[in-house]
Subunit: 344 residues, 2 copies
């Protein structure tokens, strides 16, 4: 008989919730990818991106979701690739992806910048790119093709929070072979709550029977085993999104105290595109502990001018804050790698 | 003081839940569109598509959602346009859209079929379409441009179930000027439940405080006032999606009895791409009533062969069930229009 835990530890979670059917296949691809990048001497970053769902039914029609188009993750992945990192892009199905993100169907639909030119010789007409769009597209397309040729981008897809948790554990274990050369950039908006499979209804919940009551359990704090067990040497960046400013710094510091990882990037829902704060222990070598006082953390604010949203500016002329976030992390990651060399 | 109704009638709903800020602007565009289509003698179909969200917070981070990529709606809209209808495509933000749906970023990313040809004269390289993709793209692009030129597609966007309900009411009222020449093809997966604004928390719900309990109210049955008040002459097609086969026909018939509209298209979650059932009153002139017996309805099953998913077939060679659904509805809509001429 299944007896439900009162709260789920990571261990209890994985013992009771089933893995996604494609897990083994995904693990093998990641293993090959990590091995090749190690041989070729590249640093590797795992970028997680997009929201996770919490299905309410086994034959899922309804689910709880977290707001995220995947902009932060997709944009950052591009800058990591530009900087020479190999990227495992683990994203929510249908969320934005590096490169194609520039051509969302809603804001910049690609059909709008293709022209049909009547053929000169009476044969089939020719499709061409509208002149004003050519240089932007050429830049994106060139980078896209270079990355594919170099084999430095590996994409993984998740939908539910369960998919996400299983994949994160597996990928972090595989990346441990890279030691300090692996970075974890955990930008996905992961649900704090889930509905254990044992409590899901089989079929679509019927309406017409009054109110709907849902009771969800807390998702285990996955950063703890990630830091302590799965990837002891990885450089770990987590994100904290809040809508209440007063909570941002206290919650970022609480996360560092609790999990002992390297940096929390805090962002406010409404200002996240032009302001973030890096919160980290003052001395990166000192292990954070739960009894650490708040003045042992440093805050580094990163801001860019609020972008012109008049629509007159080409998307490629707009500064993206992810460019600066990634640049700052490259420095910190290098220092983290060097530090190990000094002490060993 | 706000006193919450025990159950929400449509009237109580609109009296207590705020309209989306863009509603007035959207209404004016729809009014112009309907007027022009009427002048030009076109039939108009409102296609709703995609799922609706139910935000849990005013500064929304978490929401309940309904599974729907928007395939049914986007595909059907294309066939209505091909048949000469003007289409109001009212869809969930980021769900699939007519034409661009053929080039999803996940399954058929457009960057993959663009080539960079080195320039012959030493200038900028030229972007061209991969030869094997040209004819499919030319077909889609030609239709896309024709529709834009003719001005027969008007797109509206919703996110929440609240946006959806306000928009549906407004659009149906505007389309009433078209009388029987308006069709309503309500393919969106609309939430049966919502959280009244008055009960939402202002900020992101915090974790770390045990289980999450959500209690939601029933969304008012909007088909009732749609049929009885907002658009008395429109031809109304609603959809019923179930995961339990045994519920499909009873629920479709119950909906017709309750709302008295023209047809319910029933589909099973797992077979919806190759099997649907049209359920309608046997005599289209007879008004359905709640005391109608089940044998006064007719069922018309529409099936296509289960498609080859080996991936070797061009998307344009695969038969889409929406082609047949739309063809069947065109006949029924014409009969509905003619019937009014005979009796008047």
């Amino acid at each position: 008989m299944y007896t439900e835990p009162t709260t789920f530890s990571a261990e209890a979670y994985f013992a009771s919730q089933p893995p996604p059917p494609t897990l083994q296949h995904d693990i093998e691809r990641v293993r090959e990818f990590a091995k090749r990048q190690k041989q070729e001497g590249r640093k590797v970053v795992l970028v997680t991106s997009g929201g996770t769902t919490v299905p309410l039914e086994l034959n899922v029609v309804r689910f709880l979701d977290n707001f995220s188009a995947g902009t932060r993750g997709a944009t950052s992945a591009e800058y990591f690739l530009k900087a020479g990192y190999a990227v495992i892009f683990m994203h929510r199905q249908f969320s934005l992806q590096p490169f194609s993100r520039h051509y969302s169907h809603s804001t910049n639909p690609f059909l709008d910048f293709l022209d049909i030119e009547p053929s000169k010789d009476g044969n089939t007409p020719v499709i061409s790119v509208t002149p004003s769009k050519r240089s932007d597209l050429l830049e994106v397309l060139t980078m896209y093709k270079d990355v594919h040729k170099a084999g430095t981008l590996h994409t993984l897809t998740f939908v539910t929070v369960d998919d996400y948790l299983w994949l994160l554990r597996a990928v972090s274990q595989e990346l441990s072979v890279l030691g300090r050369n692996a970075m974890f950039y955990l930008a996905a908006a992961v649900s704090d709550f889930f509905l254990p499979r044992q409590r899901m209804s089989e079929h679509k919940i019927q309406s017409g029977k009054g109110r709907l009551s849902i009771e969800m359990d807390q998702v285990p704090k996955i950063l703890k085993p990630l830091v302590d067990e799965w990837t002891k040497d990885g450089y770990i960046v987590s994100f904290k999104l809040e809508t209440d400013d007063n909570l941002l710094l206290p919650k970022a510091k609480a996360a560092l105290k609790r999990y002992g990882h390297q940096v929390v990037i805090g962002n406010d829902l409404h200002r996240r595109k032009y302001e973030v704060v890096f919160v980290s222990p003052k001395s990166p070598s000192s292990k954070t502990t739960t009894d650490q006082s708040d003045d042992e953390f440093e805050e580094y604010w990163l801001r860019i001018p609020i972008p012109d949203t008049s629509g007159n500016v080409s998307p490629h002329q707009v500064k993206e804050i992810e460019e600066d976030i990634v640049a700052e992390l490259l420095k910190r990651h290098s220092a983290w790698i060097d530090q190990a060399k000094t002490t060993s």
